[in-house]
């Protein structure tokens, strides 16, 4: 995966590299042509002025002979000599080994051979000018081009960084907010105007999307809470009628058993309803009061409450270092009770249940015959055992409480033991 802005950057870099690469021969040809052109013109000027001055001197043949010899001695880059006939001017481009400083290797020369007549005798004048060697020109241009390419590259990267930091800041801010958004928290997302049409449009769309989601979610949760509330009264009516019916002197044994069965079913409905209500309330951000709770002490309390079930299960409680959390007392008690009751309910009796509190982790272990589906386990109404049907909400409530306080609850099945672990994390105070 690459960042959005790195994509055009890559393209820009490749494009500028190609352009600069192509520019090397172009620059070379241009520079070389200018060189040659200028040196040719220079040779021409020198030749013309030399010819003119020589003719203007009006020397006789002997003087000419001496002057030519002297000239050739003093001016090594030119050559004046008598020739059989006058021909048209010619130029040449030649590499010659440096005679005086051999270390310099080959030198490049641009030459001009021109013909003229002194006192009617034909002479040739050769003028040579030292010229920059082609490979040196190419090397120079390449070096400069590479230098510029590096400057461009650094510039692109730097600019890209600055642009992405500035231009894309609203985008990243939005992204951060969306990442931090939790539907459960029921907070609306608010974006600051970025001044950029696209971003503002995106933010508005996201805000609308979130707002409608939050509203739908809230309605759903309120519906659950209201439905559970509304059910309480009819349940109370049925319950009270059963209690009244039970007082009837004339009921038979069979009828009494029937009433008890109805009673049990009704208890279950009430229980589901109560738990549903509790779950909805936790989700609806109720139970906000917090206090410092010593988990070890809370465990002791729940343990003593559960003493009625000693025949069914033996609870072994091991508490290490003190774990203190800042949470709602009722919720913590509910969580502990649900975890322990869950272990008692789903064990073959008599069961050995181990509860330990070490390293900020609470583990509850009970024997079992087969592992449970840990993905479905914490979901509502995913009652995994048909033998001991519960409300199907106990573990959902545990998870919901853990979610609220950012504790981590997990389940593993190992060595025929169900193990539930609540990790209180580093948020809890250790002393």
């Amino acid at each position: 995966m690459i960042k959005l802005l790195d994509k055009p950057l890559k393209a820009f870099i490749i494009y500028s590299f190609v352009v600069l690469l192509c520019s090397i021969p172009v620059y070379f040809l241009m520079v070389d042509w200018i060189w040659v052109h200028e040196v040719k013109a220079h040779n021409q000027i020198v030749a013309e002025s030399t010819k003119k001055h020589l003719i203007d001197l009006r020397m006789d043949d002997r003087q000419v002979g001496e002057s030519v010899a002297l000239w050739n001695k003093l001016q090594p880059d030119t050559k004046l000599q008598q020739v059989p006939s006058i021909r048209p001017d010619s130029t040449y481009d030649i590499y010659r080994k440096n005679k005086y400083i051999p270390i310099k290797g080959y030198d490049r020369f641009q030459g001009l051979v021109t013909y003229f007549a002194i006192n009617g005798k034909p002479y040739s004048l050769t003028i040579e000018s030292n010229l920059e060697e082609s490979y040196e020109t190419i090397a120079g241009i390449t070096a400069i081009t590479i230098g510029f390419f590096i400057i461009l590259l650094l510039g692109f990267i730097k600019l890209n960084k600055r642009i992405s930091a500035r231009l894309w800041r609203p985008f990243y801010q939005t992204l951060e907010k969306i990442k931090a958004f939790d539907l459960n928290m029921q907070h609306q997302i608010s974006f600051e105007p970025s001044g950029i049409i696209e971003f503002d449009e995106m933010n508005t769309s996201i805000s609308n999307l979130v707002a409608s989601n939050v509203a739908v979610y809230r309605h759903q949760k309120e519906f659950v809470e209201n439905a559970a509330h509304e059910l309480q009264t009819p349940l109370a009516i049925v319950q009270s009628k059963l209690d009244v019916l039970f007082q009837n002197q004339e009921i038979t044994n069979e009828q009494a058993i029937l009433i008890e069965k109805i009673q049990n079913g009704l208890s279950r409905v009430s229980r589901i309803n109560k738990n549903l209500l509790l779950l909805a309330k936790i989700e609806n951000q109720q139970f906000l009061e917090k206090e410092q709770i010593d988990i070890g002490e809370a465990l002791d309390e729940v343990h003593s409450l559960l003493s009625d079930f000693e025949e069914e299960a033996t609870l072994h409680l091991e508490v290490g270092a003190k774990v203190v959390v800042d949470a709602n007392k009722m919720l913590v008690e509910t969580m502990l009770t649900n975890l322990l009751m869950n272990a008692i309910r789903h064990s073959a009796h008599p069961a050995e249940i181990r509860i330990s509190l070490f390293n900020n982790c609470l583990t509850v272990t009970n024997p079992g015959t087969a592992g449970l589906n840990s993905e479905k386990l914490f979901k509502r109404f995913s009652s995994v055992s048909k033998l001991t049907p519960g409300s199907g909400l106990g573990l959902s409530i545990v998870r919901e409480i853990c979610v609220r306080y950012h504790w981590n609850v997990s389940y593993v099945y190992l060595n025929q033991l169900h193990t539930f672990t609540v990790d209180f994390g580093s948020l809890s105070v250790n002393s």
């Binding site: 039970f246 007082q247 009494a256 008890e260 229980r271 079930f309």
Partner: protein
């Protein structure tokens, strides 16, 4: 003993009236807010059962009114909301107890009994029944003057039975009373047997009459 039931759900109210009347309580019924206001300002009650959600007004303001008038009536809030805030604020304003719907009628009766005892016998709250004496304040039980050692739960059960004398109480009502929400989580209420068996044994051994009867195999009755 006069009890005012403020409850808009007529069927629920009528069950309460039936159950409580058989306990020799005199019950009156108010099904909406104005009716409730009229009754509490005109008459004196020993105990008021107050539903918080009433047509025409909030039960909480009735409670405030009662307390503002310095009425001595005991008040039990009966609410479908089962919300902690309501419970806390209700008790703070001056309600004596809070009961969430749905509830067992024996539970209601036991709580009314307890409040009436507390109101009428502030200094020496001793329930006496023939040879049996229960001192509610010091939580001690004597049979013919000899102390009987009961566990907290056994005492709890005994008071529950006495508060529902001559009524048939189902096992689930007992389980819920003893274990509260924990009973909710168990389909098996057998643990109640053990407590009742122990209570019965201790009382009989101390020479107490056999008042606690088992009916239909799964109901209990404190017969006097």
């Amino acid at each position: 003993m006069k009890i005012l039931i403020i409850e808009d759900e007529v069927e629920l109210a009528s069950s309460m009236v039936t159950y409580l009347s058989s306990q020799h309580y005199l019950c009156e019924l108010a099904t909406d807010y104005p009716q409730a206001l009229e009754k509490i300002s005109n008459y004196q009650y020993d105990c008021i059962l107050l539903d918080l959600m009433l047509p025409g007004g909030n039960g909480m303001s009735i409670l405030k009114l009662l307390k503002a008038q310095n009425k001595e009536d005991g008040v039990i809030i009966i609410s479908a909301k089962n919300s902690l805030e309501d419970k806390v604020s209700g008790l703070q304003i001056g309600a004596d107890d809070y009961l969430a719907k749905p509830f067992h009628l024996p539970e209601l009766a036991a709580r009314i009994y307890s409040i009436l005892r507390r109101k009428n016998f502030t200094n020496s709250n001793v329930i006496a029944q023939n040879e049996l004496k229960i001192d509610v304040l010091s939580k001690s039980v004597t049979v013919n003057g000899i102390a009987v050692m009961l566990t907290k739960k056994e005492l709890d059960l005994l008071l529950f039975f006495v508060g529902n004398r001559n009524r048939v109480i189902s096992k689930s009502a007992l389980a819920e009373h003893i274990s509260g929400d924990l009973a909710d989580m168990l389909d098996n209420h057998d643990f109640i047997y053990a407590h009742i068996k122990n209570l019965k044994k201790k009382l009989l051994e101390a020479g107490c009459g056999n008042y606690l009867k088992t009916l239909y195999g799964n109901g209990y009755k404190w017969e006097v």
